[in-house]
Symmetry: C2
Subunit: 440 residues, 2 copies
């Protein structure tokens, strides 16, 4: 049997399939621990491990089965040609809301193309309907491939492109936009579009997945259904991020783009709203708002697109022994602003003060966030904080360091005037500041 | 009435005290919302706000009362001289375990000297017994002032001094050492001493507070009692950090020095064990171990002191659009190692790869941690991670970025040999790596 006929399989899984004399497209039965699974053998992506076999079961879902020496595999039906494994897309129901899925790459997009087994970090509407047939009951979905990038390769230039692409579809009159994105930097991108897309008429919902679609534990389909539901029916018109609320599949939570952070390397509920309640929950096909303070959907509202970001802004995470010459280096390289990720209530070592003074003198905008992540900056408690305020460092309240960085890049994309930039940094533009809560 | 006689009071509080014609040392009665408080008026530190009056009540505790227009203040007893306000220290009970408290500064230390109202970021045994009289029933406590620093001003040089100071007392035969420290960088210092103090015979317990001792909600006394209890009676011989477990006063939790992080700017339960269970809990005066995997206290064991740290190590938090020339700058400035705080499972943008290759070629040690904070690095899942491994970046599993930085500084304090340094980084020296847990 050629490698082609068992595309993507390696090691133990490949050996077991060869032994059973089956090939991609065959209807097979797998018996393991007294349980029986039947489905069509599908190819794996290059990311797959060498221990699972993936079959497409009757319901249309893919499941992965771990091969052990006791696992029995038998062919029970003839092979279908790989290109025919996926059912044809169901007919669109034109009365449903229109949602465009913009794909930028990442796990959610790169794995759904199980038909060829090839890594295609991209998705088409047809792919989507065949992998997640439920979508056709929710919305008329169209898909656009914008990038095919791992999200760690996304830069502020890509944020601009994403904003323009979302704006294009919004201006065409869609009822919502979903942006499929790698989870690694999805929080940064969601913050970026929160500033770039102002006066939104409809929801813009980022979505990713923590497990590839060819794994039994994949969250790709559930997250996508949640995101499309929110984009189609959510009563809000803001930038949000939809992912698992817990490790179970029962609800999808929508976080505000400016208040969300990836907080676990692998869990499905990795994204958390920080210093804010989540915006909404999708459960049983319904969108439930979790706050009363949101902008309502209104297709009459005219989108204002402000897609520019300036990369001459840096985030400096302070730590004991940090070299203050780092601050000088940014000044000497023409940077316009620095976001400090200080300690506690907003502090950095006194040995950094001279460099900070020099930066202010050179016209840089300095702002303070906390590496604690949770809580609020308060630079009035200790004299060292007050000294930093006197130097000219702006306290950014409860804003996330990552959001502060994105915002400052956006601010210098709008203006080069320092006073205007300060003013914009202090302004609450996209819920990046939460209102002050009671002291514990 | 002179300013001296109401030292430290400002604004509303000062006005109310002047109106009532009372002075520091007077026994006063405060009536507010139908409640009555009696105690000796004590001075405030410069950090105090202008709305609270602080009295020392009969139990020996200080309480702060917020002044409102309805608050009634009356003098009910003559003034004592400030130096006599504090009761004399209770007699030491020589049969109790011996604990030395080493003070480095910070909120916990700087505020306990309420007798003079002056800012003295320092504490003496006598201060401690008078502020926290319970200590005399727990241990024979001695105190040493090592530094008087806000913890954001602490650098690796101070870690060396702390380690040497703790070692000095351990070699003198104390049953435990408590290190009072500002909370801002206490996690970094606790990690540092976890590596610097090897083969410990007794516990070394860091302690801080999130509220000054002159506030009614202060956690200083409770934390100190917990830390001294753990140092005196804890069955473990490791470096730990003792703080409130929750926002209530019922238990003090001990985190391992290498697995702990400050996670809130102001909450009393700000410190959390990350990717690990806490080491122990102090509740009702008892130390309860929360893991079976710990080094037992044994005074026969001979401490090995390795107090050197090399500051030519940097932490780089990756973000979209980061300038890879930053990596070159560290290389050109003679740095020996870089800890990357990457995204997700351990990634950085491909646009940084050239600079990373150059760094490896120049002989730098590169290691990967995750800005997710929770979870474990896995650079085998995506090809971009595998490419980083091929470049020579070492995955640091579930180690905190901050701990990784401290450890690499310590590693280059022990050796300049790259291979030995790599080997030490991979070695589990002080529980900085947790054993692999089940996949969700």
């Amino acid at each position: 049997m050629s490698q082609e006929e068992l595309q993507g399989y390696r090691g133990e899984a490949l050996n077991a399939l060869r032994k059973a004399n089956v090939k991609i497209g065959d209807l097979i039965r797998i018996t393991k621990n007294g349980e029986t699974y039947e489905g069509i053998l599908i190819p794996r992506s290059e990311y797959g491990d060498d221990k699972h076999i993936v079959i497409k079961i009757k319901s249309g879902y893919n499941i992965g089965i771990r091969i052990t020496p006791e696992t029995k595999i038998e062919k029970i039906g003839a092979g279908a040609k790989p290109s025919f494994i996926a059912p044809p897309p169901p007919p669109k129901k034109p009365e449903l809301p229109k949602v465009t899925i913009v794909s930028t790459g990442g796990t959610i997009a790169s794995r759904v193309d199980y038909r060829t087994g090839a890594v295609r970090p991209a998705l088409t509407a047809s792919d989507l309907y065949s992998v997640v047939p439920e979508l056709s009951d929710i919305a008329v979905v169209d898909a656009e491939i914008l990038f095919s990038l791992y999200s760690e390769n996304i830069t502020p230039k890509h944020w601009s492109e994403m904003a323009k692409c979302a704006a294009k579809f919004i201006e065409k009159g869609v009822d919502g936009v979903v942006i499929a994105h790698g989870t690694d930097t999805m929080g940064y991108s969601a913050a970026a579009l929160s500033f770039a897309l102002q006066n939104l008429p409809v929801p813009v919902v980022f979505v990713g997945s923590q497990r590839s679609a060819d794994r039994p534990s994949s969250d790709a389909a559930t997250n996508l259904i949640g995101a499309v539901t929110a984009a189609a029916y959510g009563p809000f018109a803001e930038v949000a991020l939809a992912m698992h609320e817990t490790i179970s599949d029962t609800s999808i939570i929508l976080h505000r783009g400016t208040k969300v952070r990836k907080c676990h390397t692998s869990r499905r509920d990795t994204f958390k709203s920080i210093n804010a309640k989540p915006l909404a929950r999708v459960e049983d096909g319904k969108v439930i708002m979790l706050t009363e303070d949101y902008t309502e959907r209104n297709k009459e509202r005219k989108l204002v697109l402000k897609p520019n970001f300036d990369e001459k802004v840096a985030l400096i995470k302070f730590y004991p022994g940090i070299n203050p010459a780092l601050i000088d280096w940014y000044v000497d390289n023409g940077y316009k602003g620095l976001v400090l990720e200080g300690t506690g209530l907003g502090h950095v070592g006194r040995y950094c003060f001279d460099s900070l003074r020099r930066a202010v003198k050179a016209g840089l905008l300095l702002a303070m966030t906390s590496q604690c992540i949770w809580g609020r900056i308060n630079m009035n408690v200790y004299d060292q904080g007050r000294d930093l305020l006197a130097i000219g460092v702006i306290p950014l309240e409860d804003m996330l360091p990552e959001t502060a960085l994105v915002k400052m890049m956006w601010v210098f994309g709008q203006t080069n005037d320092l006073e205007e930039a300060k003013c914009l940094m202090k302004m609450n533009i996209a819920h990046e500041y939460s209102s002050r809560t009671l002291y514990e």
